[in-house]
């Protein structure tokens, strides 16, 4: 048995005042490389320079009144204590109904739906509940930054397949050689952040057959499913033979412009839901009660709400995309989400981070450097991501600023 030496000078009991000399608290090895996210860094720079923020993906307009009213009513009605761990029953029912409407599948709300604090937690709970240390998981790069972190926490081995411009199509051959009987799961985000790509039926079918062949689980992040512009969104779970091996995750935030409410969910067959629920109960135990009640109301919104949502976003997208093209970016087509990636190299900066810093300081607009979304940052150095989830005036101002100050080299 070893005792720690007292060389560290952490004990100073003589006068009773604790001195903070060394920091004996050490961070677990698996997480040492995760620092403050790029989003926070960019936001802080943006505020400092008074830049227009087209970087971080949340709206600068608010959610619909009828949903906010429902939350207020829930608070006033005293719905402020712990909800059932995996979701308020009414909300689970509404989720099952919505899922049926969207995919045609009939599910049991109490056994196959789990409510989480945002889709981020659904992803974390799925990874931690269903992945063993050492398991192989396939990811498509570029990917939302929490995937890598939570897979690390679960101790998984990550295999990465890069989607490349101009159309970010799935490289089928690469996929076929990556996937094997040793693969535990594959994580797919469609519509895709940051590229805006939507997986086509052909791509999904191919992936599906590979998964069935190799007995692989599929984790689907579909938070932008209601922001599908150029084609219809397809849920992997709705493909033949796929529901029993798929966890479908989604959230309220993007569809209803209430990203701060943290209402998400995971839909999966009972034997997978169980693992997700175990992890969830130790991560957050329960999800915000009044917001779940409000979300129940939100999900029952009429079709007109979703149609108007799409129309609004398409108008915004048009403004941004045309503007970016006029400024001189090479703009890649984005079929869904409220993001678009562009190639910044015409402006002569050496990589995406340098370009973004330049854009904030000299032009007064924020974009996100995409290298953080790749396992190998080199893959993303030519691309940056803009968002159009801002009001039209903000978008126009940003475009004006770029037209004025961003000059090609």
């Amino acid at each position: 048995m070893s005792t720690s030496s007292t060389q560290k000078d952490t004990v100073s009991t003589h006068d009773g005042t604790p001195q903070i000399t060394q920091q004996p608290v050490q961070v677990a090895k698996r997480l040492e490389k995760f620092k403050t996210t790029i989003f926070t860094q960019m936001s802080m720079l943006a505020i400092k320079h008074g830049a227009i923020n087209l970087g971080q993906g949340f709206p600068n307009f608010d959610g619909p009144d009828f949903v906010k009213e429902a939350a207020i009513q829930a608070i006033k009605d005293g719905k402020n204590q712990y909800a059932r761990g995996y979701g308020v029953p009414d909300f689970n029912n509404a989720l099952a109904a919505r899922f049926k409407k969207d995919t045609g599948l009939v599910i049991d709300p109490d056994k196959e739906v789990t409510v989480t604090s945002g889709c981020t937690e659904a992803i974390a709970a799925t990874m931690l509940g269903l992945i063993n240390p050492g398991d192989e998981v396939i990811l498509f790069a570029p990917f939302y930054d929490s995937y890598e972190a939570t897979l690390s926490m679960a101790g998984a081995k990550i295999k990465c397949i890069t989607l490349r411009p101009p159309d970010f199509a799935v490289p089928i051959d690469e996929l076929k050689s990556a996937i094997s009987k040793n693969t535990r799961a594959i994580l797919i985000n469609t519509p895709h952040n940051p590229t805006g790509k939507m997986f086509t039926r052909e791509e999904l079918n191919t992936i599906a057959s590979l998964c069935i062949e190799n007995d692989v689980l599929v984790f689907m992040d579909e938070v932008y499913d209601k922001l599908a512009f150029e084609m219809d969104h397809i849920s992997m779970a709705s493909l033949p033979g796929m529901y029993e091996r798929t966890v479908t995750m989604n959230s309220l935030g993007k569809t209803f412009s209430l990203t701060g409410w943290k209402i998400g969910w995971a839909i999966a067959p009972p034997h997978l839901t169980w693992g997700v629920r175990q992890a969830h109960s130790f991560l957050t135990f329960a999800t915000s009660t009044p917001m779940q009640w409000a979300a129940t109301v939100a999900l029952r919104a009429p079709d007109s709400y979703f149609e108007e949502l799409k129309r609004d976003y398409m108008a915004k997208k048009a403004i941004l995309v045309q503007g970016l093209k006029d400024v001189g970016f090479k703009v890649f087509p984005s079929s869904g989400t409220y993001f678009v990636v562009v190639d910044h190299t015409p402006f002569g900066l050496e990589n995406d981070i340098a370009f973004c810093e330049y854009l904030i300081k000299e032009v007064g607009v924020v974009a996100i450097p995409t290298s953080v979304f790749y396992l190998n940052p080199e893959d993303g150095k030519n691309l940056v991501r803009f968002t159009f989830c801002k009001d039209e005036e903000t978008l126009r101002s940003a475009v004006e600023r770029m037209k004025e100050k961003l000059k090609k080299k």
């Binding site: 009991t13 959610g63 939350a71 604090s117 981020t120 990203t259 034997h271 991560l283």
Partner: protein
Amino acid sequence: MEEKLSSVAKTFTPSPIQELSHLAQRCNAINLAEGFPDFPAPPCIKQAAVSAINNDFNQYRHVQGICDQLALKMNKMHGLNIDPLTDIAICCGQTEAFAAAVFSIIDKGDEVLLFDPCYETYEGCIAMAGGIPVYVPLDPPRWTLDPEKLMSSFTSRTKAVVLNSPHNPTGKVFSREELEVIAECCRRWDCVAITDEVYEYITFDDQKHETIASLPGMQERTIITSSLSKTFSITGWRIGWAIAPASAASAIRNIHVKITDSAPAPFQEAALTALSSPTKYFEMLRIEYQLKRDFCMKLLNSVGFRIQFKPQGSFFLFAELPKDCLLSDVEYVKELIRQAGVVVVPGRGFFHGKSGSDQPSDESFRHQKRYIRVAFCKTEARLCAAAQKFGELMNARGHNRDVVSWPRILKDITVDNPKPILRSWIKPSRNHVKFNIDGAVEGGVEKAGIGGILRNSDNVTLIIFSKAIGFSDATSAELLTIREALVMFAKSKWSKQSSLILETDCTLCANWLESPTSAPVSFKNLIAYILLLCASCVWLFLVNTENKGKISSQISELVGDALLLVTYSSLMIAWRSILKGLKLGLDERWYLNLEGSMDSEPLLFFYGRK
């Protein structure tokens, strides 16, 4: 597909608490099991959340103000210097803060010490992070920490100790000595303490909650987790935090961002309101929960329990089944649901049996199946309903016990009409002294006197006073008594160490205590006096005019004398009343300025007709 589950998920079983809840629901039982309040959250905090939603605080955010307020609180309560910019991570409830803390420092194979019995969730988190939970049993019946047991549980692989104080399920608050033992071990073995302090504001009987981080050499190796949930009865809002040295807090924050990204935005805003609640809120919280604790203890005693450990904090009572009861905890709970319609939690789920590699003898672990946990974070109505059920159960068995009733001061006063009013009954939080006072007048307006007697809680008399105050009316006498008593108390040596209970039968004094710098006036009396004054003047005038002869002189003499007296008194009273009403301040005695002379407001207790 079962083989697809992670090995960690396979070891988890559904919560026994939840299963019993379902049985209870089916039987429509009174739920004293689950640890969350059934009464509403404070209105001003709810309002703050509503405003936040209306004012569009609905997108991802981090409200730095929460960190600023927490840093202030930690400094005020524990003398800790926390940097609000770097040392605090806001999370979705204490649950997430704890999970993130565990993930931030536990690597695969690290051992984590836990005190048994303990809340069931810690183990799951540790297992998910690849850690190994090691249990250190607390010794019944008082759940004391045996330093030997603790020290022998440390190995070279021990990375952290989890400390939940005030403690769920036992209600124990770790004493300073125990904290020092744990601290010494942490320093010696270079371990981290992860604390769960969600019940930090719910302590009883002068017991103060101390955080281990305030001990020497501990702040740099402690991660404090806590939340708003229990303090403000908003368990469903998911606002919690971790406070730790900057490097750990930063790791926790980064992990939190990957797990949930942000705590619910509107509730973060409301947290600012909650955290700036006045001291009185926290006082009342303790007092009310203490009352409920005492009631529950009485309740259990009435059905045969002998509670050996009175909870010092949290809102749980961990009671050993009566010696003559042969049932196990689970059997008892089921019977209780079926026969009495009350549900509590069997204690075995909180114990984790064998520690180390010793084979346990049945005897030494028998106690693990002999406890039930009762939650008293319920309304008075619900607790009384439970008492009712218990009473019926005992009567049905021929025990003929009285139903334990909520303490009602007015029980002994028989006033048929009007009904007595219970304004408030709150047991003082510390030693109290009681001033019984009264002002009296001989007749309507006459010579008046005031008096009072001050006693402490052991019934020892501390002050007696009695004095004449000249001519006065009853109301003024009452008020003057109160003022005199308050001034006397404020100047006495007991004002800094005791709470004051003021016992009087004057209803006006309630208003006066609320705004002590305005002289109280009873307008009814004022009008009466003025009218009387006018009547007297009129009579005097009549008596002294030519009409004198018309009234028999004898009668008029008698009546005249009486009226003169009445008139004289009324003049004085009316004059004073008018002055009071105009607040001209001629009579300084009426102004009550006791700011700073007493540590807490006197608790007002009065009885009488409204």
